[in-house]
Symmetry: C2
Amino acid sequence: MNPLVSDAFVDFLVTDVLELDALLALPAFEGHSRAETIAPWLAACRRVAREVLFPDYRTMDAEPPRFENGRVSVHPRMKHAWKELCELGVIAAGRPVEVGGQQLPLTVATVSHAYLMAGNLAAYAFAGLTTGAAHLIEAFGTDALKARFLAKLYSGEWTGTMALTEPQAGSSLADVTSRAKPTKDGHYLISGAKIFISGGDQDLTDNIVHLVLARIDGAPPGTKGISLFAVPKKREQGSTLVPNDVHVSGVIHKIGWKGLPSLALSFGDEGDCHGWLVGPEHQGLKCMFQMMNEARIMVGVNATATASVAFHESLAYARERKQGRAHGASPASAPVPLVAHADVRRMLVRQKAIVEGSLALLGVTARFADLSEHATGDDERARARLLLDLLTPIAKTFPAEKGFEANALALQLHGGYGYSSEYLPEAWLRDQKLNTIHEGTTTIQGLDLLGRKVVAGAGAALQALGEEIEQDCARATFDVSALRAVLPSVSELVATLGMRGASGDVEGMLVHSADFMDLMSTTVVAWVWVKVTAALGARTDDFAKGLHATREYWFATELPRVPELVRRCQSGERSFRDFQDGWF
Amino acid sequence: MNPLVSDAFVDFLVTDVLELDALLALPAFEGHSRAETIAPWLAACRRVAREVLFPDYRTMDAEPPRFENGRVSVHPRMKHAWKELCELGVIAAGRPVEVGGQQLPLTVATVSHAYLMAGNLAAYAFAGLTTGAAHLIEAFGTDALKARFLAKLYSGEWTGTMALTEPQAGSSLADVTSRAKPTKDGHYLISGAKIFISGGDQDLTDNIVHLVLARIDGAPPGTKGISLFAVPKKREQGSTLVPNDVHVSGVIHKIGWKGLPSLALSFGDEGDCHGWLVGPEHQGLKCMFQMMNEARIMVGVNATATASVAFHESLAYARERKQGRAHGASPASAPVPLVAHADVRRMLVRQKAIVEGSLALLGVTARFADLSEHATGDDERARARLLLDLLTPIAKTFPAEKGFEANALALQLHGGYGYSSEYLPEAWLRDQKLNTIHEGTTTIQGLDLLGRKVVAGAGAALQALGEEIEQDCARATFDVSALRAVLPSVSELVATLGMRGASGDVEGMLVHSADFMDLMSTTVVAWVWVKVTAALGARTDDFAKGLHATREYWFATELPRVPELVRRCQSGERSFRDFQDGWF
């Protein structure tokens, strides 16, 4: 039985690395204790993931939702999964008690959700999307809007979606053209076309609340003229729900996440689509970014979970499958398990480094999210916010990009069998690829990291990160000099690039944003591995040996790439910058 | 219309880089001339690839062969494709005139086949497999066997397969257990189970000839007790064909190459499966390796072709799709094409570097194959053989591993659309993954390269490679010092590792075979880019600028990784070598 995610690692991560008890000592979490609420919550997530979600994963992958007569039907087993997810209380797990939530630290919610995603990414996504939509209404909606939608969303009676992307605009939200026309009755009339709307229709619940970006008539062009609206599939008329002129105009045949429909939606074809403003006029994108920052972290967890379940599958296969012999062994001797071959162990250790490094990175990031909201000191909250903002694009991108590599290794380890749909790794490889695309492509994350995050506040975030790293290095009883050595060069690089941008050469500053993301991710994950293994203290059991060796692997194989990447970014190397279209 | 492969690059590669005229001056190719045979051949391949194969690619991907009542039916359109491939004469294109071939240089055949593979990898594979089987019979079969099978295979009246792998043995051919029992009538009775037999059944032709590895009763264990047999699906009885006790026992649902069935076959269930020995008893693996060496080059071409068609698709999309603006542009200005963004160009230049670097590498390798057979001097043939053997695992692995990365970039460039089966890049990404697995996994290629090829003949092959590289560096009018600088360290590394192995520490020699493959591939491809751009001479047109910039990209981003990889291999870094199973 695939464990989906390592319990031993998660328990150690939450308790020792992320110092759960210190977190629970904050006033916001006073209702929680490790034994009475956190451990039972983790156990419940593990049970639902392993006993409810995972057993139906393959059938939901093989039989995607159907679109007939304008309505989408999800896989029949999804109804069972949805009921269990709602009963678990996963939608509002991290939200306050006063809105019906469990007020769990995000640190715990993030790590526990990894099990559910690893069990069935698409099934979990209905819940994750609903959380995102509800949280926007909770944060920016009027009391009337909250009264109408919040409880129904957080309980899972209804689901929610994010309706941002338009066919002609893609990643460029500045080019959103959906319209909102004010009426005297307090609502707006919405019209426009959206695409890639995950969960945009389903037959699980009576209603769906879409959070839609649109322009109020007369709004300025670009991102500063976009507003956010709650647009239900059905609106209340007296005590009944009537259609709200929201239509499914097409289905996208995704190559993964197949349990979750991805739709083209059309709003207001009949001029009768009511929407309610969420947050101030023209500030929809700012509101949406709150959700998108959370969503980026969740994409990182998606990616980690998808790599994790495949890692455990390939580890089990490598232990079970006997093939070949040690160098020089007699052909008459018995074959050995795959794991006995060094290059197979390389592929397993590499997966472990990516999977557990990613999970730890996400835990660290989520902990800064908790502290940015709930730490008792103003300075501590502000500092945590800086670090959260800096780490978010990395925590989204590293697991997605390297997770894809890990998933490919898991398939590779299964040999010819891995290339067939009789085995599961191919499905997870397909699932994984979306994570470098949605919630901002890798390109966009790189531009965000280099163009905004590392230069924000005159480099205050980067300085805070350096302090965090040094703090963990100081605790380490092993050699961390390679990590310490790269930090000054990264700071110098950021100073150089910041000056390049300030002098007007913005393209010269940003041209190597992909390399910069690579070097920052590699460095940050090296730090995370230091943090994880420093927390082992004097332990020398097998678990500890595995973590130390994985850190050593990362230090030996990945960290040494950083100096060359720094040099390349510093030099502003121009091969592809100067490449003309006509040269291809 | 997707060109599949760049005509301009192929023409330049064949004529200028690979010096076609010098090759055609060899006696073996005296029947050919650039204008009268080679150019028409290339034109014919391009036509069949673009007008026959590619238009049916998606439908064959979507509707794989059916297995009913013990028989496999391929896609109906495959019959049309097969007829055209046979009429083109692709099966025997590189074989001598006296066996019905066109006696084309392998250099030309290799490059021209890339078009057919890019058009429809699975459809082409029926031909490629038939060539491999026929060539084995041509090389090692008795005259009677040749008379029976050769013309029918080379004409495409029948097809051929390779039946090596067994379910319990996988990559470990030493563990083959299929049996061959001699009879007094000159044939053997074959029994055993094989798996992953591509084209193992079809309804295209009347018969199929399987080349089967099996052990003659009483043979020694291991690889030195394996013999090779021709085992037809139907055998001749008088003037009719009767069943030969070969049965399809299962279908593998591959995730790509969907036009080509991959089957489990069962031989001799009824004790009546006749097979004929090909080559000497117990030397089947040695014979098979001739075919496998050719097959490895063909896998490299498969991988290159699959990356090429996706590269051209994403280039067209990047030129057509308008999205976003330059940094700081007014949101009221019109969006620009994707290709105007630097990071998009990075993804395109990277694909170009991989695709055209791979194609040039395969051309160079194929040219050594031609010279190893047909050069007029004994020394020249021997030297070409050394280089061919050294380059073969690289020419298989680099395009497969980096091609997968290129295919992922092509999908990424399509954004959310790329993640759907409404667009083609996802299909090519699936197709590509097989190339790191079949004909020897990447692990096996790495062990072959480091454990055999670079140390063979006391390093004679590596020395010859160094001479080739220096020869091209000497011709270059641009800075090649970075390439020259890495060569001595690679030689030193090989000496160190060779001594490590010779002293008995074979695992210590081979533990970083994956890193060694990486550094050798990266270096060899840097050389290939020098060779390509040196052949441009004084040209300064757009085509030349594109190639020079791509070489500069490779020198700036990939070649600098080599010194660190050399250090790692030298140090024998032990993180995953020492990793114990219990530590995961």
